[in-house]
């Protein structure tokens, strides 16, 4: 589909890839870190304030920093992706730790008694029970990720944000509005997807509600 002289499909694909891949990678990184924080109070005292501090850094600043620290080209989409990974990890480390804390002791003790070892306990018992809290954190990270991707357009990283910057330069309101509506719709579609995934992973919750 073409509009305003742009290949909209391409912008949508770029937008989705740039928003979703970092959130998924961020979750994968946050799981072991959150587990570590759950097990070790010392690790928690470092990880939680550090994530808080990283989360306070404005997105545009972080996008500009990453090339300096990692030596990536300043016009690379990797900078936006890494920024979003950092935000996602910062947001989810605490969620993961708190979700694991909230698993009742009786459940973990029973699991240990029937022979679960730490990793099996995590994957087979604690994580499944933590899914609702994780889904909630993931949804917040995902929604803000879709809107933050557009900031990359300010340093030339293509997404639906490109319609906003170029629409501004051309004084073309419909183009900007298309970018905004598209970005919101994508955020909502993926929000519904995470919600559905979270429900699919917790069949017992539905059984309990008698649905």
């Amino acid at each position: 589909m073409r509009a305003f002289g742009y290949d909209i499909d391409e912008l949508v694909v770029d937008h989705v890839l740039l928003a979703v891949v970092p959130v998924v990678l961020g979750l994968v990184i946050a799981l072991p870190l959150g587990w570590w924080a759950h097990l070790s109070p010392g690790a928690r005292r470092v990880l939680v304030p550090l994530s808080g501090a990283l989360y306070t850094i404005p997105s545009l600043a972080l996008i500009v920093f990453i090339p300096l620290v990692l030596g990536t080209p300043i016009l690379s989409p990797v900078n936006v992706g890494l920024t979003l990974i950092i935000y996602t990890v910062a947001l989810l480390v605490r969620s993961v730790a708190e979700a694991l804390d909230a698993v009742p002791d009786t459940v973990t003790t029973a699991a240990v008694a029937v022979g679960y070892r730490p990793v099996g306990l995590l994957l087979g018992v604690q994580l499944p029970l933590a899914v609702p809290v994780l889904t909630a954190g993931l949804r917040v990270a995902s929604v803000s990720s879709f809107s933050l991707v557009t900031v990359g357009a300010l340093v030339g990283i293509q997404s639906l944000g490109t319609l906003m910057t170029d629409g501004f330069q051309q004084d073309y309101t419909a183009m900007v509005a298309t970018g905004i509506v598209g970005s919101i719709l994508l955020a909502f579609v993926f929000d519904a997807l995470w919600l559905a995934l979270g429900r699919a992973l917790t069949p017992w919750a539905r059984a309990r509600q008698g649905v």
Binding site: L60, A61, L68, A153, V176
Partner: protein
């Protein structure tokens, strides 16, 4: 690159005039304060009222969550295209983005006040406004402050982006630097705005702990001069476990 960044900070012209770092920091803080103050005047009373009456709570939460999906850059650009350049359009966009966290904080704080305390207040004959101001709002302070802090950080971040639509502040260094591919200037601006955010967050956290009622309150050194008398242990007949 690091050396060029140091040179950028070392340039004496960087520290004076209307495009100097002190002026840009003040501008940035000014936009932030203005937007957060306007948004607070709108969001906090509505949130508190909805939390007190518990009518329209779902709508408030829905609006707050829905607004979170708004792309900041798009909102800024749209407001400027529709309303023109100047201070007002970007400020309105910043206000719009600052409302949801404060609305949600005020609503959930007031609605989450201990129902036992609220009932007790009603039972001893406090009127509705006395309950709201004397019981529910003090109980809501931590969540309200959390909302204000989150909103402030969001506004600082978005005000950086607003340099793209002609606002001053620290974003100017990043946007103007990018326009002429002056990377030390971009990095310098990014560094200052990152430090500013962390400092503001720490200041707000400390202020929050000063005004929060209850055991988490931070005592100023002057208040510590007279240590609270430790209550004498009450002799108890109960058998200890």
């Amino acid at each position: 690159m690091l050396g060029r960044l140091v040179d950028w900070f070392g340039d004496p012209t960087r520290w004076s005039g209307s495009a100097g770092i002190p002026a840009r920091v003040l501008e940035h803080l000014g936009y932030t304060l203005l937007a957060v103050a306007i948004a607070a005047v709108i969001a906090l009373p509505i949130g508190a009222l909805v939390g007190h009456t518990r009518r329209g709570g779902l709508a408030v939460v829905g609006v707050a969550n829905g607004l979170r999906a708004l792309p900041e850059l798009g909102v800024l650009v749209l407001f400027v295209l529709l309303l023109g350049l100047g201070l007002l359009p970007p400020t309105l966009a910043l206000v719009l983005l600052a409302i949801p966290p404060m609305l949600a904080g005020a609503y959930s704080g007031v609605a989450g006040a201990d129902p036992g305390a609220v009932d007790a207040a009603r039972g001893i004959g406090m009127r509705e406004h006395q309950i709201l101001f004397g019981v529910e709002i003090p109980a809501a302070v931590p969540l309200v402050l959390g909302g204000v802090r989150f909103a402030t950080l969001q506004v600082i971040a978005t005000a950086t982006i607003a340099a793209y639509v002609g606002l001053g502040g620290l974003g100017r260094y990043i946007i103007d630097g990018f326009a002429v591919r002056d990377f030390p200037q971009m990095l310098g601006g990014a560094l200052i705005v990152a430090v500013l955010s962390v400092v503001v967050e720490l200041v707000l956290q400390t202020l929050g702990r000063l005004v929060t009622p209850g055991p988490d309150r931070l005592r100023l050194p002057s208040a510590r001069r007279e240590p609270a008398p430790t209550p004498a242990p009450i002799p108890s007949r109960e058998a200890r476990p």
